[in-house]
Amino acid sequence: MIIDAKKDVVRFDNIGLRYGLGPEVLQDVSFSLAPGSFHFLVGPSGAGKSSLLKLMYLALKPSRGLISLFGNDIATTRRRDLPGLRRKIGVVFQDFRLLRHLSAFDNVALPLRVARTRESDVRKNVEEMLAWVELHNHVKARPPTLSGGQQQRVAIARAVIARPKLLLADEPTGNVDDKMAMRLIHLFEELNKLGTTIVIATHNEALVERLGHPCMRLDSGRLEIESALREATVKDGPSRFTAIADGAGAVSPSKAV
């Protein structure tokens, strides 16, 4: 099977990441995500899940290796072109990172305003989105007055408002009960059906098993990819990248289910 690297939404080649002079928190991480794929990212605490996500949403630079997003090599992309790439990525941060002084409406509107969308379109889109996450009664509420679950939905609304090509969610079901978790996951699946590539980092192994999406497993800074159909686990060594390329089925959820 030939993989067109240009079409990959995300592509990591032999990525290593260290903070300062510390040990590498990610080692030789290689994978690629096809458009419209849906992956879980699992692994024990401290395995590097958040670091991997940070690399994907361009909050960090890798210490080595090559990252390409939407066909752009990050290392050679001009700095002033990076905001354009970031606008194609929606992020649900683990701690939401809502701006406390802004209303739910203004928080959700941020990605549109940053992209200089006309205010009339902002109003229409944001109101629609808040209704979709069932927060239409809390448009003017500020985050500190909202419950954890409500804040989470504001965060998710903000992440998806600009119809990102790639959605990254760090423990989006971390602080809610199972019922709410399933609802949120279905929200992501809806978005996925519209073509958005999705990566969800989670601790919730039961959830992963139930949904059957392919799984990226991080352990001590090393990445293995498991397809939902078969265990395509690849051990250390340079062969891993090839193996991932062979196991490209792993990045296609339609085959996986």
Binding site: Y57, L60, R79, G84, R86, R87, R97, L99, P111, A115
Partner: protein
């Protein structure tokens, strides 16, 4: 001109309360320094022009008393005719002996009037504005007609005076420059603090794809507003101070001091000061934010 609303709660931090007062203080001092520069500059110019259009020629007293008075009078007339034929001279007139005596009276008493004190005769010469007179050649010609005649174009005295004024002026300009640099430094510091306080919000904006200029505009807009507010306060305090200094100088009598009042043009320059300071604050804030953000990926 700037975004209608701010995503960063800049108006809620303590900085926005104290920055205007700092800037007000800076503008107050800058106003005084600037007013000083303007007044001294004008005064130096006026003196330079006023003094360099006059000269004094001195004809020494005759060697021996009596009999030679007519001789001295002849020398004065010769000198006058030389001066009047010199290009650039508008007017040349001998000062009456009685007036010289009157001028000397406070020092010598009526004694000088007895007539046996040898007195020099003085000729007051008025020149065309900007006249370029070769003083050396003129003195030689005058000395030939009246031995011992000396020309005093007040140059030496004037040069010293103007040098003094110019150095005070330079000092005031230096003070002004220091104030401007301190203001910029203050803005850099407060902006950096603002960046640190609002780092969370800035990071979120950055990660959802805000251009650096989007963030910088919010900081620059705030710096402009705070700078203007502080500048107007500072100027508002400086105006009564300057008026008070002006009336004090006037009550000292114009004979001793040159005219130290501010012209309309000078007031206009002073009125522009808050605007200039606010602009400096705005550009400094913008630059500081852009430099800081450029360190982010």
């Amino acid at each position: 001109m700037f975004s209608r609303r701010s995503d960063i709660p800049l108006d809620r931090d303590a900085l926005s309360r104290f920055l205007p007062w700092l800037i007000a203080f800076m503008v107050y001092m800058a106003s005084l320094a600037l007013a000083g520069v303007l007044v001294l500059h004008a005064a130096a110019g006026r003196w330079d022009k006023g003094m360099s259009t006059t000269m004094t020629v001195q004809i020494p007293p005759p060697a021996e008393a009596g009999g030679a008075a007519a001789n001295q009078q002849k020398q004065v007339e010769k000198a006058l005719s030389i001066l009047r034929s010199t290009p650039g001279v508008v007017h040349a007139e001998a000062i009456e002996e009685s007036r010289i005596l009157a001028l000397l009276e406070p020092w010598l008493g009526t004694l000088a009037g007895e007539g046996d004190l040898p007195l020099p005769r003085l000729i007051d010469v008025e020149l065309v504005t900007g006249a370029d007179i070769d003083v050396k050649a003129l003195s030689l010609r005058l000395a030939a007609a009246a031995p011992g005649a000396a020309v005093d174009d007040h140059r030496l005295w004037l040069d010293r005076m103007i040098r003094l004024i110019r150095s005070v002026e330079t000092l005031a300009v230096a003070v002004l420059a220091l104030i401007v640099m301190t203001t910029a430094g203050t803005v850099v510091f407060t902006t950096r603090t603002g960046l640190a306080i609002h780092q969370e919000a800035i990071e979120v904006l950055h990660l959802i794809g805000a251009q650096d200029t989007y963030v910088a505009r919010q900081f620059a807009g705030r710096a402009l507003a705070l700078g203007l507010r502080g500048g107007v306060i500072g100027l508002g305090l400086a105006v009564p101070t300057l008026l008070a200094i002006g009336s004090l100088a006037e009550s000292l009598e114009g004979g001793l001091l040159p005219d130290f009042s501010l012209s309309m043009g000078n007031w206009a320059v002073l009125a522009a000061l808050p605007l200039v300071v606010a602009m400096i604050a705005m550009f400094t804030a913008r630059r500081t934010v852009l430099r800081n953000l450029s360190r982010m990926l």
